[in-house]
């Protein structure tokens, strides 16, 4: 983080959203500054994934506002949001299994074809594992490789902010380390990152700042390091 006044790239303010008649989020706010890596943690059912889905226009916000680079993008459709510089990686089913690796990446760049070759090169240099297997079907990949491909697909539009829903879910500890290493690298190249994690320790050690959500409300926020040491965080996870 820089000492100059940070500029918010992504700003979600007082978001109210939910499924059916039930509100899951009761006015949640998060901010991602330029080049920042931010974690949202919290116990099961806190509304973390719902928040990401709402920011990305997959779920209607019933209240509040989402701004990207100052522009109001509340309730815009995903195919418009990817053009504005926002990308999203879902937690599960995040590749096209019967398409090849290369085709998966091409689909990531569906809305913008210029400079396709350079962006492909960048993804393949980030994930060399995928390079030799570009003609293989994504359905054949291991869990970790799928996660890499999913990240690669989301990077194909060179987004300003990347939304990641539990990137470490159901991966081996070694693979979690590798994936976070890559996410850090992507972040260091200037892409803002907002990620949701169950795995609070892993997420907070990798990120600059963190938000703790519980019952659809902001509970705590601050520097990731300070949250790691905060006793209240542990208590929240135990449900007290």
């Amino acid at each position: 983080m820089t000492d100059t006044k940070p500029v918010p790239v992504l700003e979600a303010k007082d978001i109210v959203a939910g499924y059916g008649e039930v509100d899951i989020l009761h006015g949640v706010s998060v901010t991602v500054h330029s080049g920042e890596m931010v974690a949202i943690i919290g116990p099961n059912g806190a509304g973390k994934s719902t928040l990401l889905r709402t920011i990305f226009g997959l779920l209607d916000a019933r209240g509040g506002q989402v701004r990207l680079k100052g522009e109001d993008i509340t309730n815009r459709a995903p195919d418009q949001l990817v053009l504005c510089g926002l990308s999203y990686v879902p937690q599960v089913d995040n590749v096209f299994p019967s398409l090849t690796i290369l085709e998966n990446l091409e689909m990531g760049a569906f809305v913008r074809q210029d400079g396709l070759a350079e962006r492909l090169d960048r993804v393949f240099s980030l994930f060399p594992d995928l390079t030799d297997r570009r003609g293989e079907k994504a359905g054949k990949l291991s869990g970790g490789q799928r996660q890499m491909l999913a990240l690669g697909r989301a990077l194909m539009l060179d987004p300003d902010v990347l939304l990641l829903d539990e990137p470490s879910a159901s991966l081996s500890p070694k693979m979690v380390e590798l994936i976070f290493d890559r996410i850090n690298l992507i972040n260091s190249e200037g892409t803002g990152i907002l990620l949701v994690e169950q795995n609070a320790n892993e997420a907070l050690s990798a990120c600059d700042r963190g938000y703790v959500l519980a019952m659809g409300e902001n509970r705590l926020e601050g520097e990731a390091k300070s949250l790691l040491d905060n006793e209240e965080v542990g208590k929240l996870y135990l449900g007290t």
Partner: protein, 353 residues
């Protein structure tokens, strides 16, 4: 208990991978070799019947692949395409007691009915088929807006889509009966001369034309799906509609083009079928079983599979005539369907998962 079930599942998978798949290919090779050697004439006719079926099956498999439901209206919409071509050629509708003619038709074009080479039709037919393809594309998009899109927005189950398509099938057939009546129709009346080919095969040139068109169309659909951006997006949508949306793929456009291509194929298939058979409203429904048999045999969602599957169904149906009554032709298609569902439900080209 679960270990037993796992073992059983494992065995089934091994059976499917190493026995059922190759076994099917061997069976098909045997059928084709036997038919080609000993029932050459029926074999060739089978390939032509199969070609027409293939055009229908490819459309069916494409719509299934993208929209994930079996379109039971496919046969009847094919017939609608055939009738639209008929109308465009002659301008004929059913009136009271006798036909009404609106007085103009593409057959009135200068030299429009002059035969192209040994074919029975002139260029007016080609124009009529092309226009009919446009009409059917529009009809399909209209049906999607009216029926399927509201179901999609409601998140309806697949079976709801299938039943809705069955309703459309009944309505379309009734509409054809009202507009053109129950009498059989033909595009070109009179006796069509057949040509003699090597191995004592007798064929009409129209039939050769049908086969070439079917193979070219299958090739085009394959190229579309695997070589173009739109085709890849269609496959992506078929794989995972939610992720397609997240990737920024305009899913409405993918569905739009699926219906455009599916509808055009319906019109072409129906019109080619009517070139060599009498056109009747109920023909579409009778086609449904062999169409599904072909698509499922090839592996639902796979155009190259639909081509081969439909050819197999066509050949099996025609060759069966040498041994059992022709009335059992639909039973042959049904038998193939049952067999494939029993031993390898994913078909020849279907993905393992």
């Amino acid at each position: 208990m679960s270990t037993y079930a796992d073992r059983l599942r494992g065995n089934l998978r091994v059976f499917n991978e190493f026995v059922a798949g190759p076994g099917l290919w061997i069976l098909i090779t045997l059928l084709f070799t036997y038919a080609a050697l000993f029932e050459t004439q029926l074999f060739v006719i089978g390939l032509i019947v199969g070609s027409v079926l293939a055009l229908g099956s490819i459309g069916l498999t494409l719509i299934y692949g993208v929209l994930r439901f079996g379109n039971f209206a496919h046969g009847d919409l094919m017939m609608m395409g055939a009738y639209v071509t008929f109308f465009l050629l002659n301008g004929t509708l059913l009136g009271q007691r006798r036909d009404t003619n609106i007085g103009v038709g593409l057959n009135d074009l200068p030299a429009g009915t002059e035969r192209l080479g040994d074919l029975t039709f002139g260029y007016s037919f080609l124009i009529a088929v092309a226009l009919s393809a446009v009409v059917l594309a529009v009809v399909c998009i209209g049906l999607d807006r009216l029926v399927y899109r509201p179901l999609r927005r409601r998140g309806s189950a697949i079976v709801t889509f299938a039943i809705a398509s069955l309703g459309i099938a009944f309505s379309v057939r009734a509409l054809l009966l009202i507009i053109w009546g129950p009498d059989p129709r033909t595009y070109v009346s009179g006796i069509h001369k057949a040509q003699h080919y090597p191995f004592d095969v007798v064929l009409k040139t129209d039939q050769v034309f049908i086969m070439v068109v079917a193979i070219v169309m299958a090739g085009l659909v394959y190229l579309l799906l695997f070589r173009t951006k739109l085709g890849k997006a269609m496959r992506a949508y078929s794989d995972n509609p939610d992720l397609a949306l997240v990737s920024g793929i305009n899913t409405d456009r993918v569905i739009f083009w699926t219906w455009v291509i599916g509808g055009s194929l319906m019109a072409i298939a129906g019109s080619l079928l009517a070139l060599q058979a009498n056109l009747k409203p109920e023909l579409g429904f009778q086609l449904l079983l062999p169409l599904f048999a072909g698509a499922i045999l090839g592996g639902l969602g796979k155009p190259q599979g639909a081509l081969i599957g439909a050819l197999v169904v066509g050949v099996a149906q025609e060759v069966s005539v040498a041994y059992i009554s022709a009335g059992y032709k639909p039973a042959v298609a049904f038998l193939i369907l049952i067999l494939i569902l029993l031993i390898r439900p994913r078909g020849l080209f279907g993905d393992a998962n």
